[in-house]
């Protein structure tokens, strides 16, 4: 087994065996180094690349895990651009899973002297986090008096928070040169997770249609279901290839996951529309994650403003 497969395997196993365990994130960090995959070894990380992080995120996506994997990846990225003292202070506990950082970065803010005013949506992991950092205007900032508002979301397995700062006093600050890349990294990270979710949703559906019998045979033997599943397979296969391009990933992976989740509901028939079954969790994740860090339509507009001119 090569290293990628070994990483995938060990993450999958921990998620399966300890999915509900509050210490899961700590184990993932300490046993596999998930918290600092992209962080150099001198700061307690594994010195690996975004490719390895993608593997971890796919695995988290498969089981709709609530661990702070995307948030930690983004926080590590932001911190790596900061000064040596900041790096030395914050990265090692982040990598070890001893500290969970919620990073607020998706929104406008103004720093005026030692106070900051702004509003950030789509902040992850505020329940699990012990530290809230703000990324704004080229700086990483820690504040007092941040207002945390739960953000309405379809997705029951990923609460979102809006962070509002109203002339909040800055406790500590440091410049970071990596902040401009945050959004692209966030979209790619999310896409990796979406690929894992889509793949698992497709797999669960395939398994279900193999065993569900109607008219005296498994419904998976019916040609129309086979062909629709084959079309999804084609989309999911391609999705894996586009993770590295944030724009293509946002559109393709979001749409792929929505298509898979909708078919998952349809092919599971009645049981899919119950709380007892997981199908609705995948569907909710599909719609909510498509809109996380910007909607697909906004991405098209970002890509080329003229794409929406008619």
């Amino acid at each position: 087994m090569n290293e990628s497969a070994a990483l995938r395997d060990s993450v999958r196993r921990l998620l399966a065996d300890h999915g509900d365990d509050p210490g899961l994130w700590g184990r993932l960090c300490k046993e596999i180094g998930v918290g600092g995959l992209t962080v150099p070894e001198e700061y307690g990380g594994s010195g690996a690349t975004v490719a390895e992080a993608s593997i971890v995120l796919e695995e988290c996506g498969r089981v709709l895990s609530g661990v702070p994997a995307i948030g930690s990846l983004l926080a590590a990225h932001a911190l790596l651009g900061a000064g040596p003292q900041t790096r030395a202070r914050l990265l090692p506990p982040l990598c070890a899973g001893d500290r969970v950082v919620a990073l607020a970065w998706n929104g406008p803010a103004v720093i005026d002297g030692d106070r900051i005013t702004g509003s950030f949506t789509d902040v992850l992991d505020t329940a699990a986090a012990d530290t809230l950092l703000i990324a704004a205007a080229g700086e990483i900032v820690q504040v007092e008096g941040a207002i945390l508002e739960p953000q309405p979301t379809l997705d029951l397995s990923r609460p979102l928070t809006t962070v509002r700062l109203d002339e909040a006093p800055i406790v500590w600050r440091d410049a970071s040169h990596t902040l401009p890349g945050l959004r692209d990294l966030a979209c790619s990270a999310l896409a990796a997770e979406q690929v894992g979710t889509a793949e698992r949703a497709l797999q669960l559906t395939v398994e279900y249609v193999k065993v569900r019998h109607q008219f005296g045979r498994p419904i998976g033997s019916f040609q129309v279901l086979q062909h629709r599943l084959a079309d999804l397979y084609v989309r999911v296969q391609a999705a894996r290839s586009v993770i590295g391009n944030p724009t293509v990933a946002k559109l393709w992976c979001s749409e792929t996951l929505r298509a898979v989740a909708a078919e998952m509901v349809q092919m599971h028939g009645g049981i899919a529309i119950t709380w007892e079954h997981d199908a609705h969790r995948y569907l909710r994740r599909a719609w909510a994650s498509a809109d996380l860090f910007g909607t697909p339509a906004a991405e098209v507009a970002r890509l080329a403003p003229e794409f929406l001119d008619t």
């Binding site: 009645g270 529309i273 119950t274 906004a298």
Partner: protein
């Protein structure tokens, strides 16, 4: 819009519109399957009935107006445009009642329809079973002949409204025979000894469906519809109602389309809006020339999903906070599944209307 209204039609529409404007609750009723919602919806049915609007197409003696089908269509449009409550009585009104009027006895109609119209008796449907979803003919629940009636045993599932209903109707295996044969169409009380109802929690958080467990539940002969053993044929006529226009008039969709263009306007919105118009125009045309119920079902189930997906796409992260579109979307996803899956309907059309070989 494709409707040539006579003065009597206009008068009926205006009466309906005026009554709804004066009577539709200003704040929505609690959900139908909540402790407060159930009596509120029953009360709403009672008021509709008192105004003669519960079931305008029925004969006068059962609580209707003997109105032409056009009036059912007009009522449906006004009802949805006014944002009136969901009908707690819909299974009885739109599915059982046409079956009784077509296959039942005068005694059955006289006994069952009036309290149904007044919301005093709410009906659940009891078609599906754990192993009989798309394949309805695979029902295993049994009706055993006893003196003066039948004893019902088995399990029904996806029974809509069963969590709040008084009685239910469905198919039971009463005689030996291959699949479609030997089935009997029966009505039974949900509060009789031997009945257990277990609500199923749905995606949108409501319990619109339930499981029903039956353990030697007695049903008198008077509650058999048609001839024992002839249930499949009769059920298929109800299935037509369920799939077709009587369950899903165009009002629901034209009202949703009108709300949709309030959210934003682009080509996709236009296409959804046009589809809702087309569904309405087909409903009008169907007053003269009936459409295959399977075609109607495929149209509305896809339209409902499409309208909601378009809305969610426009709203983005606002969907959760804007007017119930996300709940509506989850509900719409049940459309292609219940009342005979869309896959079944396509096979029916291909084989019956297009004459393609099995």
């Amino acid at each position: 819009m494709n409707l040539d209204l006579e003065p009597a039609d206009v008068a009926f529409r205006d009466e309906t519109r005026t009554w709804l404007a004066a009577n539709v609750p200003a704040t929505p009723l609690p959900p139908v399957d909540t402790p407060g919602g159930e009596p509120a919806h029953r009360e709403w049915e009672r008021r509709l009935a008192a105004a003669g609007l519960a079931a305008v197409s029925w004969p006068v003696e059962y609580g209707g107006r003997a109105a032409p089908p056009l009036h059912t269509l007009l009522f449906d449009e006004e009802y949805h445009a006014a944002g009136a409550p969901v009908r707690i009585g819909q299974n009885g009104l739109f599915l059982l009642a046409p079956t009784l009027l077509g296959h039942g006895t005068v005694e059955q109609c006289a006994r069952i329809l009036p309290p149904m119209a007044r919301g005093e008796e709410v009906w659940a449907q009891a078609w599906s079973e754990p192993s009989a979803g798309s394949d309805l003919a695979a029902v295993r629940s049994r009706a055993r002949r006893v003196d003066g009636g039948w004893l019902l045993s088995g399990q029904k599932t996806w029974s809509s409204r069963a969590a709040v209903a008084d009685r239910a109707f469905g198919l039971f295996r009463s005689h030996d025979g291959e699949r479609h044969r030997g089935l009997t169409y029966l009505m039974f009380g949900l509060r009789e000894p031997g009945v257990t109802v277990r609500p199923i929690r749905q995606l949108d958080g409501t319990t619109g469906f339930a499981e029903i467990f039956l353990d030697d539940v007695f049903v008198a002969d008077a509650d058999v519809i048609g001839v024992p053993g002839d249930g499949w044929r009769i059920a298929m006529s109800t299935a037509g109602h369920e799939r077709g226009l009587s369950l899903r008039g165009p009002g629901r969709f034209t009202a949703a389309a009108a709300r949709l263009i309030g959210l934003g306007r682009n080509r996709r919105v236009a296409d959804s809006w046009i589809a809702a118009r087309a569904y309405r125009m087909q409903a009008c045309a169907a007053l003269d020339e009936p459409v295959a119920p399977s075609a109607t079902k495929l149209f509305w189930s896809a339209l409902d999903v499409d309208l909601h997906e378009t809305a969610l796409d426009l709203l983005g992260p606002l969907a959760e906070t804007d007017g119930g579109w996300s709940d509506g979307y989850l509900f719409s996803l049940a459309g292609p599944i219940y009342a005979g899956t869309d896959e079944i309907q396509r096979s029916i059309l291909a084989q019956r209307e297009l004459g393609l070989p099995r």
